[in-house]
């Protein structure tokens, strides 16, 4: 392909740029979530996550205490610093900051430039400097609290783990995480063994009806789960399982079975015939061939299915909604996010972002560490 060097380089640059653009488009939404989950609540609603490393201008409202006032030439004067007020203490722990504008009405919190003087709506005047020093003058004496002031100040970018703490402890995501884990692990482990035996029978044993069974498995691969919900839930209720962890484990075992058998059979069929034949000649039973030869050799396919099933169960919303009780202490993460947080915390983007990231962290780790097996499994399942 490297025949016409000059022509090729132009194309190569174009290809590189296109792929870079594609990767960027694919990554940006996830990066946005990750960045947002570490941002401070007020900053999230003030600037977009793409401006997260820059300082944010936030508006504050203070009502300075009136007890430090003094009289000066017939006027009452109250002086102080806007950054030293109780309302701003959390944001400016050092008591210093930079005012970029101030105002006397809630509607226009940055109406005036720092250093100028503004009239107060109830008489008197106020001036706020850029360093936060303010001076209020009025005819009457100050009450216990002075007039309400608004100002806008530049706050340094602030990243915090607080969102994660809130989500895990207060919003039930910690509990939901454990529930998800509880649902996922048995629902991943149990189908493997059942499917492996069946796959071996379908791959290496001769019997009447094998073709029909394989066709049935292929057919069941595409049966929509929606069909299973109502009949199985009423079945579970009749036999006393009801909505419970046992019920969801059984359901996921059933729903994962066609893919498990299909993947494992496809892989086992491809194992070298010689090994199995010679083991047979040496007098090994089918049970021995399966446990001593097939099972160890099929490790890549077993791993591939395990990853699939893990991701699928971990990420599932539908089955969890139907087969688990909807009480708070049995909710899995997807249900907690979709049914609880999106409703009660709909506007708290930092909480939603942190919750989403808690729920996708484990699958991402599994994905990046075991990608090789996942790809191999996908290929075994589709290109045949």
């Amino acid at each position: 392909m490297d025949t016409i060097a000059g022509k090729k380089s132009g194309l190569t640059i174009a290809v590189n740029l296109t792929v870079a653009a594609l990767v960027l488009i694919w990554l940006i939404p996830t990066i946005g979530l990750l960045v947002s989950s570490f941002r401070d609540r007020d900053q999230i609603s003030a600037t977009g996550w793409w401006l997260a490393p820059l300082p944010v201008e936030l508006t504050f409202r203070i009502r300075p205490a009136g007890d430090g006032a003094r009289e000066e030439g017939g006027l009452h004067v109250l002086e102080g610093n806007v950054f030293a007020q109780p309302e701003t203490a959390r944001r400016f722990p050092e008591g210093r900051g930079e005012v970029t504008g101030f105002g006397v009405r809630a509607r226009l919190p940055a109406e005036f430039a720092p250093g100028t003087e503004a009239e107060l709506p109830r008489g008197g005047a106020v001036a706020i400097d850029a360093d936060g020093a303010f001076r209020i003058t009025q005819d009457e004496a100050f009450g216990p609290r002075g007039p309400t002031l608004y100002f806008e100040a530049r706050t340094p970018p602030r990243f915090t783990l607080e969102n994660y703490r809130t989500v895990l402890l207060a919003d039930g995501m910690g509990r939901a995480f454990i529930n998800t884990l509880t649902v996922t692990i048995p629902a991943t482990v149990i189908p493997i063994l059942i499917a492996a035996f069946a796959a071996y029978a379908l791959a290496w044993m001769d019997f009447v009806g094998r073709g029909v069974l394989i066709a049935a498995v292929v057919g069941l691969l595409v049966v929509p789960l929606q069909l299973a919900l109502v009949p199985l839930l009423s079945l579970h209720q009749q036999v006393g399982i009801g909505q419970s962890f046992l019920g969801i484990w059984l359901a996921h075992t059933g729903f994962g079975m066609p893919l498990a058998i299909y993947l494992l059979r496809n892989y086992m069929v491809g194992l070298p015939r010689d090994i199995i034949e010679s083991a047979r000649v040496d007098g090994a039973t089918d049970f021995q061939i399966f446990t001593r030869i097939i099972l160890p050799l099929s490790f890549p396919a077993l791993a591939a299915f395990a990853i699939f099933q893990f991701l699928w169960v971990w990420n599932d919303l539908l089955v969890a909604k139907v087969f688990l009780p909807s009480a708070t202490d049995t909710r899995v993460m997807t249900v907690t996010i979709a049914d609880d947080l999106l409703g009660s915390r709909g506007g708290d983007w930092e909480i939603l972002a942190a919750a989403a990231f808690v729920s996708i962290a484990v699958p991402l780790v599994v994905f990046f560490t075991l990608q090789r097996y996942l790809v191999r499994g996908l290929l075994a399942g589709s290109v045949k």
């Binding site: 296109t18 946005g32 069909l227 199985l232 996708i360």
Partner: protein
């Protein structure tokens, strides 16, 4: 017992139970029922090898039958009964559905999903597979495009909420619009008709990686000679791709396309999380969930409609599988 402990016990019982079942049933077969010794040894061995496959298959067949095959019938039967399940009403639920505008919207939207999502995901996947093929950082790029596969539909929806949000301070789309001089922020999931496409983008974003991985393997599997011959004959990169490579991987493209089609018929999470079906965005799976726990007759009727839509693909898949077996 706390659920975690219950889970561990279940793993132990489940794994041990399976192993015990397979081992004990084999042992019984070989030693007790049809022992490979004594006067009937030949007959016993022959019988044992007839029975054994079914021992291996029994748990799987039982689970498949109970959790997937039977519900198809069970759902259909249930859909012929009224809400409480007490009275046989024939196709009454289906007739009610047809009369409902919500159902028609859901069917229409689902058709849109079926047309757009597989086409877009396969198209982008094919493009990504071809472009990353000879790139030095191709594997890294593929990894990044493949990544959304690991993310749940709920998580993906939340991720995209940050793109679609209706203010320029959170939503990326509105920020870009504001940057281009738009005065008012818009809420893209509320624009009639077009909001469907914004929801589809999420599934396309997830599925492109899947298409890319499989198509990329297929592209690698194309015999070198055909490509070399085409280059010697003077084919440019575009002709090479569209007239030499794509026809050779057509089979795989069809497989990818149908797999994503099936998925687009089943995913309810995205619509549920993004709009809850409001603003005319229901598709059949999300529409079904509005009846779940309230009217099982209707819910199963919708589910069976989904089944009918899947059936052609199912038959096609089975025929393909049978052809391979021969």
């Amino acid at each position: 017992m706390p659920p975690v402990l219950q889970g561990l016990v279940t793993i132990a019982v489940g794994v041990f139970g399976c192993v015990a079942y397979f081992w004990v049933s084999n042992w019984l077969l070989d030693r007790v029922i049809l022992p490979a010794r004594g006067p009937n040894i030949a007959r016993n061995i022959a019988w044992a090898s007839l029975v054994r496959p079914w021992l291996f298959l029994f748990p799987a067949i039982f689970v498949l039958g109970l959790y997937l095959a039977w519900p198809v019938l069970g759902s259909f039967i249930r859909s012929l009964y009224n809400r409480a399940g007490t009275e046989f009403i024939g196709f009454g639920n289906y007739a009610d559905l047809l009369a409902e505008p919500g159902f028609r919207t859901a069917v229409f939207n689902n058709m849109l999903w079926l047309l757009v999502v597989p086409a877009a995901a396969t198209g982008f996947g094919l493009m990504a597979a071809q472009l990353t093929d000879r790139l030095r950082w191709g594997n890294l790029a593929k990894s990044m495009i493949f990544m959304p596969m690991a993310i749940s539909f709920v998580g993906a929806s939340l991720i995209w909420k940050f793109v679609y949000h209706n203010t320029a301070d959170i939503g990326l789309i509105n920020a870009v619009r504001a940057g281009l001089g738009a005065e008012r922020a818009i809420d893209v999931v509320q624009i009639p008709f077009w909001n469907n496409f914004f929801l589809m983008v999420i599934l396309i974003w997830i599925q492109t990686g899947f298409a890319m991985v499989i198509l990329s393997a297929a592209l690698r599997g194309i015999p070198e000679e055909t490509i070399e011959a085409a280059i010697l004959d003077g084919a440019g990169p575009f002709r090479l791709f569209f007239q030499v490579k794509v026809p050779q991987i057509m089979g795989t493209i069809v497989v990818v396309w149908t797999t994503i089609t099936i998925l687009a018929l089943k995913v309810f999470d995205i619509v549920y999380t993004m709009t809850g079906g409001n603003f005319g965005t229901h598709i059949l799976p999300s529409y079904m969930m509005t009846f779940m726990f309230r009217d099982d007759g209707r819910a199963t009727a919708v589910a069976f409609v989904i089944m009918l839509l899947v059936t052609p693909v199912m038959i096609w898949n089975i025929r393909q599988a049978r052809r391979e077996l021969r």
